[in-house]
């Protein structure tokens, strides 16, 4: 069964189509973009190609509004990174940013068109305790977690429980690896840290090297939990590949690095769906090398059907009969990759009961009370959307 068409992907791949869309199409497009957190990318792309002024005023207002939000975040990020720097300097631990924060501070292509909610940082495992203490001295704490979550994070996860700043509300996730200890894949964080590079405009802040950034993004997308920003993440990987992997030598180096870190499988997935979903040209030789990560023919069919649907915006206009099933499969897969069954079953059961409100859970949903603390947006960062 072929995948449903997606107006958002078509428009992001060919923005010059945008000015001729009908109003009904614009409603669908804005809805899909909101649902998949790609509204800023859409707006940025249209602005970069000088098409924004050709868009009808009603949808254009939403695009411009998202650009304002993004502009403000970039500014807030720079400010927050300086605060983080103070803590890391005191701890004498290098500040290595991951994902969204890294793209923004290193001024990489995905950073020009994406928001993020948490600052992800990577440290050595033996530095965890010290950096946690010092971050607490600087105002970050993991107070809004219940005991179960605290224990879950500290025992099984590759990161500390999220720490929120008491005044500025910024959230830091301190990682000691890219994926949970319980997962099957085991990249070596020491090697990632050793290969990290300084940011061009802020050399004291470090980020992973280009190849590792691509691999991390791929691991995160295909091997780390839920699939909810999948399409946004795939566009990020597309930007990173286009930016860093510009010739055959670099392709070879990327493949070699993936083997070295034992991350060939996520790389294979990422490149397969870059090609299938975003029609990126991947050199034939690369596929030949990575193909041994494929399951059998039948397996590939199922895999394409499930990942293909999971990558589409979670929006009514992109759903077909199989979409719900695909999402459930991805949810279970995401968790199964993180932990063995004897941990997984009790955990999922607990989460299901909590979501049914049949088990008390004071902290888990980060969603807000309607209009709670409505105004006072004087905090350093825009409110979580």
């Amino acid at each position: 069964m072929s995948l449903p068409a997606c107006l958002l992907i078509e428009t992001l791949l060919a923005p010059e189509r945008a000015p001729v869309l009908t109003m009904a199409e614009w409603e669908t497009l804005i809805g899909q973009a909101r649902a998949s957190q790609l509204l800023i990318r859409l707006a940025t792309l249209l602005r970069e190609q000088s098409l924004l002024q050709d868009i009808p005023p009603a949808p254009r207002r939403h695009l411009e509004s998202s650009l304002r939000l993004h502009q403000r975040q970039l500014q807030a990020v720079r400010w927050e990174v300086e605060h983080l720097m103070l803590a890391f300097r005191q701890a004498e631990i290098p500040l290595v940013l991951l994902k969204g924060a890294a793209y923004a501070v290193a001024e990489l292509p995905p950073g020009r068109c994406r928001m993020f909610s948490d600052f992800d940082v990577l440290v050595r495992r033996d530095q965890l305790e010290r950096i946690e203490t010092i971050l607490m001295m600087h105002g970050w704490s993991s107070a809004d977690q219940n005991e179960y979550d605290q224990r879950y994070y500290r025992t099984w996860m590759h990161e500390l429980p999220p720490m929120r700043h008491i005044l500025r509300q910024s959230v830091i996730d301190v990682h000691h690896n890219l994926i949970p200890d319980t997962a099957r894949l085991r990249p070596d964080p020491e090697r990632l840290l050793a290969a990290s590079v300084p940011c061009a405009h802020r050399p004291e802040v470090r980020v992973l090297c280009g190849k590792d950034m691509i691999l991390h993004s791929a691991v995160h997308l295909f091997h780390d939990g839920e699939f909810d920003h999948a399409l946004r993440d795939l566009f990020d990987i597309r930007d990173l590949v286009a930016h860093f992997i510009t010739d055959e030598d670099r392709w070879r180096a990327l493949i070699a690095r993936a083997e070295e870190l034992k991350l060939s499988q996520p790389l294979h997935y990422a490149l397969r769906y870059l090609q299938r979903t975003l029609r990126v040209n991947i050199p034939h030789a690369v596929h030949t090398v990575l193909r041994r990560n494929e399951p059998g023919k039948l397996g590939v069919g199922v895999q394409d059907s499930v990942f293909g649907r999971g990558l589409l915006p979670k929006h009514g206009s992109c759903d077909d009969r199989l979409s719900g099933l695909a999402r459930t499969a991805l949810y279970i897969r995401g968790h199964a990759l993180r932990m063995p069954p004897r941990l997984l079953l009790p955990h999922l059961l607990r989460k299901a009961l909590m979501r049914s409100n049949l088990l008390a859970d004071p902290a888990a949903p980060r969603r807000q009370e309607p209009l709670a603390g409505a105004a006072t947006s004087t905090a350093g960062r825009p409110r979580r959307p």
Partner: protein
Amino acid sequence: MRLQTGPFVFRINSPLPKVAESLHLLYDAFPLAEPDAFADFHVRIRISSGLRRVLRPQSIFDLDGIEPFKPLPGKQAFALLEWGMNWCIYSHAHQFLIIHGAVLEKHGRAILLPAPSGSGKSTLCAALMCRGWRLLSDELILIDPETAEIHSLCRPVSLKNRSIDVMRAFAPDALITAPIPDTSKGTVAHMRPSATSFAGIQDHALPWRVVFPRYREHSATQISPLSRADTFMRLVDNAFNYTLLGTLGFRTLARVIDRVQGLDAEYSALDDIIARLDALVAAEVAR
């Protein structure tokens, strides 16, 4: 249903008869948007499915599948829809500087009542509307950065707890929905905007006074002027997207401050404070 409320078109979808009933009661004078007009927000309010539906029904709000709020008990569906619609505006419509508060107009002069919940702002707002002031908004003050004009939303006034009975006594003819008890803000009911308010929904208004109302039992009405700096900072405290707009937010608010006088208003008798505000605007018009 595609509902036009001031600058925004909402496409509202809900299978719940109670929601339809309240929408009909409160919004029946609103224009329905043209079918080919762009709907800014596709919102939905529904009851959760599965086991919960039987054990403890919950209402869920979503915008394009995004659920920004925790579900509320099923009976609070309409209140959740109203809050959800506010959220859509204040977290997306950054073409405006948005301040939490009410705004009304008379003789082309707009009074802003910025205030957090619980200050008696909505009660005063409803009372002013019942005495001939035109309602522009009860929750969200939308300021156009280009012109410093305030755009009208003209959505229902949300009344809480004691103010529901107060308004029933104050304006027996006003249309107020059946109260919804036990929400996070206590009992909530909604009051329909006046005919004058509907009629003027397209008319923007320029800010003229910023009144910070404070209800205190048995107090005599006391209106005292505020400095420009205080007024500015108090507006910032109540703004949703002042920091987000950066320089534009500052410039917009500065233009507002150039036009207005800030006032602290302590009161207990609605008729009395309304008479004082009426006198203020009459004196201004006579000049």
